[in-house]
């Protein structure tokens, strides 16, 4: 397999992603730890090893933390991660990237260290799960499993905003890598005017994200002496997540960021440069960042595993339809915040449950909790934490005002999540 330096690949991706999406042409030139299964459609993609096979769909925080934890609990098992992207990108850093605080190379990692642990990384796209017969249909062929974990994250539902799917170049946001590349470029060339960010109804990935982006943009524009009228058009009745609503309201007010709650954007009119809400209000823009509704991958619904998200028991992450299928993270219907931190913990937790199902002698996992540090500027962050009990009932929540210390904590927090996977 041709090997390519990740830095040069990223440079190439950054240059080629003006259209905002990955293209298959570059997917064949990636780190050596990944396997290609582009041939043999509808045939078995991986020969049976005779071992118990755990297939993990999605190589984000939750999937990889499960893979890594399970490789410790069940070293005799074959662990296969199916991931469509050529390298790992840390979700929380999309915000840092669009605000110019980090480079692509800072926020991504090769899958090589994961492969080095004996975990197979297979690059392909999931098409369907045949739960009754224990196999997954992928673009590159079928993959059989004994246990299946679905951790494919969220899908950006552009089709839920009228005209957006036909006019993708009108929009950019920080919820996907390609879109983030496009958004950063557009921010760098923004000369001033009306900047509109729209927020979908909860739940969505990284709930504080839209407000963080607005605050960081205010800082950038002020520093560059660019006159910008920033407006957040929010489908929710208050800023998200709920525990931070009052903090955000005060912050947005202080930064003179207009806030329009209870206003769900249902249409974009690119020629008229306006977005239209469900109440019929029209909001003009010079730069728009629509965050479309966040849903799970369509194969989940098509495979009868849930609609929109995978139906699971929040205590064990086990599917309500199949005893050997589990789901965690943003694609699962669980009460936990859709954040990188809870995804990582859910990944570790479900590894316990899968190992227990395999008959391994492991203890029950700890309950899930969340902590994160949303930016209010590049040097200050808020803090929010939530604890749930083992059944997913929220038992404690805390929030604190913006502090410089929390911005430092954020860096440590995210680095810890990444290093826990790739450097440990």
């Amino acid at each position: 397999m041709q090997k390519m330096n990740r830095r040069s690949l990223l440079k190439g991706v950054g240059m080629s992603l003006a259209g905002g999406i990955f293209i298959n042409g570059i997917l064949s030139k990636v780190a050596s730890g990944e396997e290609q299964i582009m041939n043999g459609k509808h045939m078995s993609a991986i020969p049976s090893s005779g071992k118990t096979r755990v297939v993990i769909l999605g190589g984000g925080f939750s999937g990889l933390y499960c893979a890594k934890t399970l490789s410790d609990f069940a070293p005799d098992a074959e662990i296969v991660v199916v991931e469509k992207n050529p390298f790992f990108v840390s979700g929380p850093s999309h915000i840092d990237y669009v605000a110019g605080l980090k480079h692509l190379d800072d926020i991504s990692r090769s899958y090589d260290p994961i492969s080095a642990r004996g975990i197979r990384i297979v690059r392909s796209e999931v098409i369907h799960v045949v739960g009754e017969k224990n196999y997954v249909i992928t673009a590159g062929g079928n993959i059989e499993y004994n246990y299946l974990l679905i951790s494919t994250g969220i899908r950006i539902a552009d089709e839920d905003v009228l005209n957006l799917i036909e006019q993708p170049a009108s929009n950019s946001h920080a919820w996907e890598l390609g879109e983030s590349v496009q958004m950063r470029r557009r921010i760098e060339s923004f000369k001033g005017g009306k900047f509109v960010i729209t927020v979908p109804s909860a739940p969505f990935k990284c709930p504080p994200g839209p407000y963080e982006v607005a605050c960081l943009l205010r800082e950038i524009f002020d520093r560059k002496k660019i006159k910008a009228d920033i407006t957040i058009v929010d489908a929710n009745d208050k800023p998200q997540p709920g525990p931070l609503a009052q903090k955000w309201t005060g912050v947005l007010n202080a930064k003179k960021i207009n806030y329009m709650p209870n206003s769900k954007v249902v249409e974009i009119d690119p020629s008229g440069k306006q977005v239209i809400t469900d109440k019929g209000e029209k909001v003009g823009y010079d730069f728009v960042s629509i965050i479309p509704p966040n849903k799970a991958a369509t194969f989940i619904r098509d495979s009868g595993l849930g609609d929109t998200f995978v139906d699971v028991d929040p205590a064990t992450f086990k599917s309500k339809k199949h005893d050997n299928i589990y789901a965690v993270g943003d694609c699962a219907k669980v009460p936990y915040t859709k954040s990188a931190f809870t995804s990582a913990l859910q990944g570790k937790s479900v590894a316990h449950h899968i190992a227990l199902a395999m008959g391994k002698d492991v203890k029950a996992p700890d309950p899930i909790y969340n902590i994160c540090y949303p930016y209010v500027s590049s040097s200050e962050a808020l803090m929010v934490s939530v604890n749930w009990d083992k059944d997913g009932k929220m038992i404690k929540a805390e929030a604190d005002d913006a502090k410089k210390d929390y911005a430092s904590s954020r860096a440590v927090w995210e680095n810890g999540l990444i290093q826990g996977l790739f450097d440990a």
Binding site: D160, S201, P243, M260, P261, N262, P335, K393
Partner: protein, 223 residues
């Protein structure tokens, strides 16, 4: 001004227009406001920054509004900090506030109790009207009661946009969707996080009352 009180207690107030009322809920408490009016009234709920803007400019842009209502039941949760809201009404209303401990409510939900989460009774003009049923989460139960038979269909956001744009008609949507009827009541459960809107067609002015009930499943959905 009403001061926040202990969970389980209630307060009654008769309010005459123009009305502004400040309601405060202490941390850990949810204040359920219940408004009733003999004639259709407009009610607005404002958070402090919205209220300040309203006092400065008179603008009610973006605030939570309930048009032409005769009854409203709505929660004001104060999860982590004391929460203040202001109610503004344009019409004569009776206000009742009930305070409950959030954690106790959650415990009862997880134990299987079904709890009224929100409700509204409103007027609907003849013709076709739109009612926003959001925010909805899986596991919620919804009951609709009309004072007369009406034809209604409950659609997703994208089809609301298509309807407003003239790209789809009421009759077309009525054929396409399952949540629909021609009667004076309807019960359904929410299965996913999709925002929903109801289109109602009636040949006379009627009233609609809708009630949303929380369940253990909705509590597990996390919002």
């Amino acid at each position: 001004m009403l001061s926040s009180v202990e969970p389980g207690s209630t307060q009654d107030n008769n309010l005459t227009p123009p009305l502004e009322k400040k309601i405060e809920a202490k941390k850990g408490i949810v204040a359920f406001i219940e408004l009733s009016s003999p004639t259709p009234s407009d009610v607005y709920l404002l958070y402090p920054t919205q209220y300040n803007k309203y006092k400065e400019s008179g603008s009610l842009e973006g605030v939570l509004e309930f048009k032409e209502i005769t009854w409203l039941f709505y929660p004001i949760p104060a999860l982590l900090e004391d929460q203040t809201v202001y109610i503004i009404t344009k019409g004569e209303v009776k206000l009742n506030i009930t305070y409950e401990n959030i954690q106790e409510r959650l415990d009862r939900l997880f134990a299987g109790e079904e709890q009224l989460r929100a409700g509204t009774e409103m007027s609907i003009d003849s013709g076709i009207s739109m009612v926003r049923l959001t925010p909805l989460i899986p596991g919620l139960k919804v009951r609709l009661d009309f004072t007369e038979n009406a034809q209604f269909v409950i659609v997703k956001t994208i089809d609301l946009a298509r309807y407003k744009k003239g790209l789809k008609s009421f009759d077309q949507l009525y054929k396409e969707y399952d949540l629909k009827g021609s009667s004076d009541h309807f019960n359904f459960s929410i299965s996913d996080f999709e925002d929903l809107y109801m289109l109602v067609r009636t040949d006379k002015r009627i009233r609609l009352k809708y009630l949303i009930w929380a369940t253990k499943e909705s509590a597990e959905s996390g919002c």
